[in-house]
């Protein structure tokens, strides 16, 4: 019996408690389903649009290739670090595809793939991780907020932006991404609360990939699910199979549409798994078994899509090969671009700290310039010396 039903069936003779004692909204409709929403591998898959299936497949395969390429680039010293989304491509890709061009994406530090799937140049997406600048793109141009390393801090930003858009009369939605670990931060809770109180057009996507570095979900939360956290703030929570690209796309699109129509925020928990270590610098064998990782291979996002496409005869081997070739071309282009050393100007240290450079920074810039000139002279001198 829901709280509201209990209330309705209370005996007629019972004394009426003050109105403030009652829940103000019925929590039942906000509760997530007991089982994560799935489409692929269920009867509902038959209704999935073939075009959408093919599109998702192509993007997820590209995403997988992107992850492999970026990881390889760390081994070649071309990226300082890479937090991979191998295994999480369905959620990353669906997040990007659920948005209209005017909408905004607020990625966490792990979500470069979502940005790339939205159309951002991979080199720009990876700038932070290559280490030549912090944000490699103009957020306003792409409507992608800077990748956020301080966990969950991007979530209130998404709420504020969505709120501002609504105040302005624009039908813009903000989609904010965060990890399971990030939901423990105060900023997550404050963002959820603001979003619900303001009925801001924002969608929170939590990718529950099982771990926050080494810490498993069980040490992170005692909630029935992360999606249940929505109820306490007065917004619906949805539980989805994060490896089911079609289910992800469906739930995200619904939430985005609802937000756009003035229906307020939604919290979506995508259940997925981080197949790789936290980053290339992490040793996952210290906290999880290979056997656990293996259990997720059978539920791989690419496999799920491939099975559906082939069973319905929507793709043949040649079609799949074409998708793989396309991914290969993307990887080759990325590899080539990343093999170029970025052109760096040390004097950029002083640009864009303030709109107008302060006199202190001017002094410091002059100091660095003089140092660089002296350095250049010294190395020229030594080169000439060496030649003689």
């Amino acid at each position: 019996m829901t709280v509201m039903e209990q209330r309705a069936t209370r005996g007629a003779g019972a004394p009426t408690p003050p109105p403030a004692w009652q829940p103000r909204t019925d929590p039942a409709p906000l509760l997530p389903d007991a089982e994560p929403h799935r489409v692929l591998g269920t009867d509902a898959a038959a209704d999935a649009d073939p075009e959408l299936l093919r599109r998702l497949y192509a993007e997820v395969v590209r995403g997988r290739r992107y992850n492999a390429q970026a990881t390889a680039l760390t081994k070649q010293g071309r990226l300082a670090v890479y937090p991979s989304t191998t295994g999480q491509e369905a959620a990353e890709v669906a997040a990007a595809l659920a948005l209209e061009e005017r909408d905004w994406l607020f990625p966490s530090y792990r979500d470069t793939l979502a940005a790339v799937a939205r159309g951002l140049d991979p080199v720009q997406a990876l700038t932070l991780l290559r280490g030549d600048w912090h944000t490699g793109y103009d957020p306003r141009e792409h409507r992608i907020a800077p990748l956020s390393t301080p966990l969950a801090t991007q979530l209130p930003h998404a709420v504020g932006l969505a709120h501002a858009a609504r105040l302005k009369g624009d039908d813009v939605v903000a989609l904010a991404m965060v990890g399971d670990g990030g939901t423990s931060e105060g900023d997550f809770h404050e963002a959820m609360n603001f979003a619900a109180v303001w009925q801001a057009p924002v969608v929170f996507l939590v990718q529950n990939n099982g771990f926050a570095i080494s810490v498993p979900l069980a040490k992170q939360t005692a909630a029935p699910s992360l999606a249940h956290k929505a109820v306490g703030y007065g917004m619906p929570g949805r539980l989805v199979d994060g490896n089911d690209a079609v289910a992800m796309h469906e739930v995200l699109t619904e939430a985005v549409t609802r937000a756009r129509g003035g229906g307020g925020p939604t919290l979506i928990e995508a259940i997925t798994y981080r197949m790789d270590a936290h980053t290339n610098a992490d040793d996952a064998t210290r906290y999880r078994s290979d056997a656990e990782v293996e259990t997720w291979r059978a539920h791989d996002p690419i496999l799920l899509l491939e099975r559906e496409l082939t069973e319905r005869g929507l793709i043949d081997e040649a079609g799949m090969q074409a998708v793989r070739d396309d991914a290969e071309r993307m990887a080759a282009a990325l590899r080539e671009a990343m093999n170029q050393d970025p052109v760096l100007d040390p004097m950029d240290l002083f640009t864009d700290v303030y709109a107008e450079e302060t006199s202190q920074l001017r002094e410091q810039a002059a100091q660095l310039r003089a140092e660089l000139e002296a350095e250049a002279e010294a190395s020229e001198g030594s080169q000439e010396g060496g030649g003689e």
Binding site: A212, D348, L349
Partner: protein, 336 residues
């Protein structure tokens, strides 16, 4: 005839190992010491400082907390109120910021608020500083924020032996200590005997790392090796530089610093943290107030630029290195 048990010899050890050993020994000696933070248990911390502690002492003594720095420090306050001695790990400098409210509004001032009735013996370990090629938010020098908060003790070691000794003293302190670990020195090696670690001076004692006569380099943490290297390089210029390692920023050892500067007559403060509003300003003022008539030149500062910490590919232009220290020494008015 007495036989003396052969003492295990000193061998190369890293600062990371010494810090881990300090935690272990503190936990073994005092059952109220609890280690808590993100990934400190099973993983042993992202820098492996807490490696093995959960195994040896159990997860109640070395706890993987939920990912929430304000919550970590806030619950540590409650644990300390009930008689425990929490040692909190903040994963990186910039990830300690969510805990600032707890730190500033409660941790720093609980002794004062309660007229001494309820001091908080909490140690907050913070890996800090740059030079490790870390991406955004992994290289901040946040010491000035802590120094500016009365009630906090601020300690930072520069050697393997000090890392052990100062961490033991910080944990034993009844006052809250922000223990800043120079992460680029984590893997620096020194000859050290973990079975017979020597005690260090009480917190608040600076040390002359290298005696000299021409000028004093006043520094701490990650910049100590830079200054020692600069002092070596300065010999060929005819300068014999003294290097003072502060070891603790709060309390500040005015006596050792002033005695050195009075001897040498010249001083340069060196740190990674930005110069404007940074520790060097406070230090230079204190030196000037105490040594004015002994000074042959104004106290100079060599600091990080006043910019957000740059991306890894540019950090070498930002970090004070040997050349910048020597340039400053050269400007100490030697002709007059």
């Amino acid at each position: 005839m007495t036989t003396v048990a052969a003492k295990p010899a000193a061998k190369p050890a890293t600062m990371a190992q010494a810090l881990g050993r300090a935690l272990r020994d503190a936990m073994a000696d005092d059952p109220t010491v609890h280690v808590m933070g993100e990934d400190v248990g099973t993983l042993g911390g992202v820098f492996r400082i807490t490696d093995g502690l959960a195994k040896e002492f159990g997860e109640d003594r070395c706890t993987d907390t939920p990912l929430a720095e304000a919550g970590i420090l806030g619950t540590a306050v409650g644990m300390a109120m009930y008689g425990l001695r929490p040692v909190v790990e903040m994963q990186f400098d910039a990830f300690a910021y969510p805990a600032f409210e707890q730190l500033i509004s409660h941790v720093a001032r609980m002794r004062n608020r309660t007229r001494g009735a309820m001091p908080l013996p909490i140690t907050v370990r913070v890996p800090y500083g740059g030079g490790i090629g870390g991406v955004e938010h992994h290289s901040d020098s946040s010491e000035a924020y802590y120094m500016a908060t009365p009630g906090l003790t601020v300690v930072t070691p520069a050697t393997v032996a000090d890392a052990y000794g100062l961490l033991r003293r910080s944990i034993a302190s009844d006052d809250p200590v922000v223990f800043l670990e120079p992460k680029r020195l984590y893997w620096a090696k020194d000859s050290w005997n973990p079975e017979a670690p020597t005690d260090v001076d009480p917190i608040g004692t600076a040390v002359v790392r290298r005696p000299g006569t021409s000028a004093t380099l006043i520094t701490y943490g990650p910049s100590v090796p830079v200054c020692l290297e600069a002092a070596e390089a300065a010999r060929s210029e005819g300068w014999d530089l003294e290097v003072v390692d502060l070891r603790s920023l709060v309390p500040f050892d005015d006596a050792t610093v002033a005695a050195s500067v009075r001897r040498t007559g010249r001083a340069v403060v060196v740190h990674e943290s930005g110069g404007f509003g940074g520790p060097g300003g406070e230090i230079a003022a204190r030196v000037t107030e105490r040594c004015f008539h002994h000074l042959e030149a104004p106290v100079l500062r060599v600091a990080g630029f006043d910019i957000p910490y740059p991306p890894p590919m540019l950090e070498r232009h930002h970090l004070p290195g040997v050349d910048r220290v020597l340039d400053a020494v050269a400007r100490l008015q030697w002709d007059q």
